[in-house]
């Protein structure tokens, strides 16, 4: 709807932002006064997409990739969309306020990008039925305006396992894990299965860092693992610290969430890149078009949500094998959780040819054979 702002005496927010001239302080004061009373009205033109991040956008891991997704979406949708974000929002009492503030400030769709935002997201969604909520990595959809989304990172971890077994001389890899939730356990298992497809005796040592982002702790974990004799490091935490430690110690490592090749030009074999951009474009577009519906998406390499960074620092035959494995997973021909698979305690999980059900995977709380660790229960 077109409004003649000048005639109405309303200065839209865009004008205030452009006016940087310090000379006209009085004018800008008047503009700010106008924003006070009519700010929300002026914002209604474009669809507003808002993002809540658990870490800083400069973590070069989880939150960084979500922010990259935001930037991609902004570029694709242009004027149709307006964006806002809050970074480093603690999971707890503060999260609910941050989400509610977004809902009240005229956001049409709100992406809450950490598991710990699950209950606050659903709580706020109940109060704002007209706002769409998208919660990453959760399982609760208590209202029709809450959707959930996640990615099959474990597909990439299987490929990493294949590479690790080919590259490792010790036959042992170190795994820096965050929290013993199904997603992380799934990743460890997929990594081991990939490695055992090359070397059936391959072992994995796990250190629980109990954090998603803490460069100091992650670096300590990497050092401890290397001291125990592993010669490949992979991580399910978000900082670049393990990559840097691996570089110092002269061993190979895998990046996490984003392409970390800058932090280990001679170290990184590949990295699982979370590419949220296409999903964000699709979902925000759906709000613009009025076709948004509740859903639960679990996309992988096939959907383009999980992308492998270029295979580097490895011989051509390893690279070829990695590429073949990636192609098979991407085409849907192969599922990393295909039997025969034995649990850590020696009992059978999947028979030959049997594929794990999604429901089991999403609540996974046991290791497969070859993990040198006791799963915290």
């Amino acid at each position: 709807m077109y409004r003649d702002y000048k005639k109405d005496g309303i200065v839209p927010r865009a004008t205030t932002k452009r006016n940087k001239s310090m000379k006209k302080t009085i004018l800008s004061f008047a503009a700010a006064a106008a924003v006070m009373s009519f700010g929300t009205m002026a914002a209604e033109a474009a669809t507003k997409a808002c993002f809540v991040y658990v870490g800083p956008i400069g973590d070069f891991g989880w939150s960084y990739q979500h922010h990259q997704g935001l930037e991609h979406m902004k570029k694709e949708l242009g004027d149709q969309v307006e964006t806002a974000y809050l970074e480093s929002v603690p999971e707890g009492a503060d999260a609910e306020r941050a989400i509610e503030r977004f809902a009240r400030s005229g956001c049409n769709i709100i992406f809450t990008t950490s598991f710990g935002y699950m209950d606050p997201t659903n709580k706020v969604a109940g109060k704002f039925p007209d706002v769409k909520f998208e919660h990453a990595t959760g399982y609760k959809r208590e209202h029709p305006n809450v959707a959930t989304y996640n990615s099959k990172f474990h597909e990439g971890r299987y490929i990493q396992g294949v590479i690790a077994a080919k590259m490792s001389k010790a036959g042992v890899a170190g795994y820096i894990a965050s929290f013993p939730i199904p997603e992380v356990v799934m990743g460890i298992n997929a990594f081991v299965l990939g490695a055992q497809s090359v070397n059936p005796d391959f072992k994995v040592k796990v250190v629980w860092a109990n954090t998603w982002f803490d460069p100091g702790k992650e670096a300590d974990a990497a050092k401890a693992l290397i001291d125990q004799g592993v010669d490949i490091i992979t991580q399910h935490t978000d900082s670049t610290a393990p990559m840097q430690v691996a570089t110092e110690r002269g061993i190979k490592a895998f990046g996490q969430a984003s392409d970390m090749i800058k932090f280990g030009p001679t170290t990184q074999l590949t990295s699982i890149v979370d590419d949220w951009g296409p999903y964000y474009v699709e979902r925000v577009k759906a709000v613009v078009d009025g076709t948004w519906k509740q859903q639960d998406v679990w996309g992988g390499m096939k959907e383009g949500h999980v992308v492998m960074a270029p295979f580097a620092n490895m011989p051509d035959d390893v690279k070829k094998l990695a590429e073949e494995t990636a192609a098979k997973i991407k085409s849907g021909e192969f599922n990393p959780f295909t039997g025969p698979i034995t649990k850590q305690d020696g009992t059978e999980w999947l028979k030959a040819g049997e594929v794990a059900e999604n429901g089991v995977l999403l609540g996974l709380n046991f290791y497969v054979k070859g993990v040198d660790d006791k799963l915290p229960q």
Binding site: F29, A31, L86, A93, R97, N365
Partner: protein, 366 residues
């Protein structure tokens, strides 16, 4: 040339009253410069910082949610600091209060009755007070430095909570995520006025505690004892006041209030225990206590101001797209100016010239 702080013979009542406003003015000027350098309209930025969060009722509720633990802890700390007991461990007492208070809803989720909530609050107070009693006992019995012991106990409490929610108290239906089961409705601290927002009774506790302690400090013998022992232990002894009992009194009161803040936050605002339940309330409350000049009524105002700066920071992030680092820098400037202005009430700055400095040195060498 050298700069010295010289104690003023007497403090100006006028400037003591004006100081917070001068500080606010200086913060606004410095903040405006910072925002202009970032290419943001300073007037708009300051508006989002200080006015926007106060415009809507729900936001006022959020202000109360954020300010409640800060005020509750800080008024307790004021008793400690006035009596010369340096309790730095309120964060730990907050956590232990939250853990103790959560015993009923976590271990006996089927026990649902009106009595659950009062019991939880009492156990929370007891937990915080007992945890505060540890550094008090160590100080009285072994003359240890309470700054160190109380601070160290914070880490113990944090790691204990971490272990509890990952181990024995983990929610059996929580997909292995480190958190306890969510509290049943009878264990949730009710909202004051739930139609308009989520502020809970924790804020009422904070105001009541502040008024009660203000009354105690200014109108009762116990309050006089606190002040006398804090300013001159010797004079206190002549008056027959016991130093050791005051150590326990201060730590038990502040620990108990921190514990009450902990269980109120968990039961009212979060609804379950998680590995981290406080974004550093116990430490921020130290700032609040001094911002409020250790006066419980001043602390109410100081707690609200600090809470406002958090909320305003979020509003500025969203509306202007500034980073949360800018927001924290601005918060830091606010505190810096307030404390600096207060310092200048008590001290004046003296510039010591080069020759004068030499004379001083010469005299010192002799």
């Amino acid at each position: 040339m050298r700069i010295e702080l010289v104690k003023r013979p007497e403090r100006s009542a006028l400037f003591a009253a004006l100081s917070p406003f001068i500080a606010l003015g200086l913060t606004l000027i410095a903040g405006a410069i910072m925002f202009s350098l970032l290419g943001k309209n300073p007037v708009e930025a300051l508006y989002y910082y200080f006015i926007d969060p106060l415009r809507e009722v729900w936001s006022l509720h959020e202000l109360a949610v954020k300010a409640a633990p800060l005020i509750l802890i800080a008024v307790g700390l004021s008793i400690c600091y006035l009596s010369n007991n340096w309790n730095i461990g309120a964060e730990g007492q907050f956590i232990v209060g939250a853990i103790m208070g959560s015993i009923l809803p976590v271990m006996f989720p089927d026990f649902q009755s009106w009595i659950v909530l009062p019991l939880m609050l009492l156990m929370g107070i007891a937990g915080g007070a007992l945890y505060g009693a540890i550094p008090a006992y160590l100080k009285v019995r072994f003359n240890t430095n309470e700054i160190l012991t109380s601070l160290m106990l914070v880490y113990v409490a944090q790691l204990f909570l971490d272990w509890m929610v990952r181990g024995p108290w983990r929610n059996p239906a929580g997909m292995n995520f480190p958190e306890t089961r969510t509290f049943s409705p009878s264990a949730v601290l009710p909202e004051i006025w739930s139609a308009s927002g989520r502020a809970n009774w924790g804020f009422v506790f904070a105001i009541v505690a502040a008024i009660a302690l203000w009354f105690m400090l200014s109108r009762t013998l116990k309050g006089f004892e606190v002040l006398v022992l804090g300013q001159s232990p010797r004079a206190g002894r002549f008056a027959g006041f016991s130093q050791s009992r005051m150590v326990f009194f201060a730590f038990l009161v502040s620990g108990g209030l921190a514990g009450l803040a902990g269980i109120s936050e968990v039961s009212g605002a979060i609804g379950q225990l998680r590995p981290t339940i406080s974004p550093g309330y116990g430490f921020a409350a130290i700032i609040v206590a001094f911002l409020g000049r250790l006066n419980p009524l001043g602390i109410i105002a100081a707690g609200l101001v600090l809470a406002l700066s958090y909320l305003g920071g979020e509003a500025a992030q969203i509306s202007l797209g500034v980073s949360d680092k800018v927001v924290r820098a601005f918060q830091g400037m606010l505190l810096f100016f307030v404390l600096a202005c207060d310092t200048l009430i008590l001290y004046r700055i003296r510039f010591v010239g080069a020759s004068a400095a030499k004379t001083v040195e010469a005299t010192q060498n002799v």
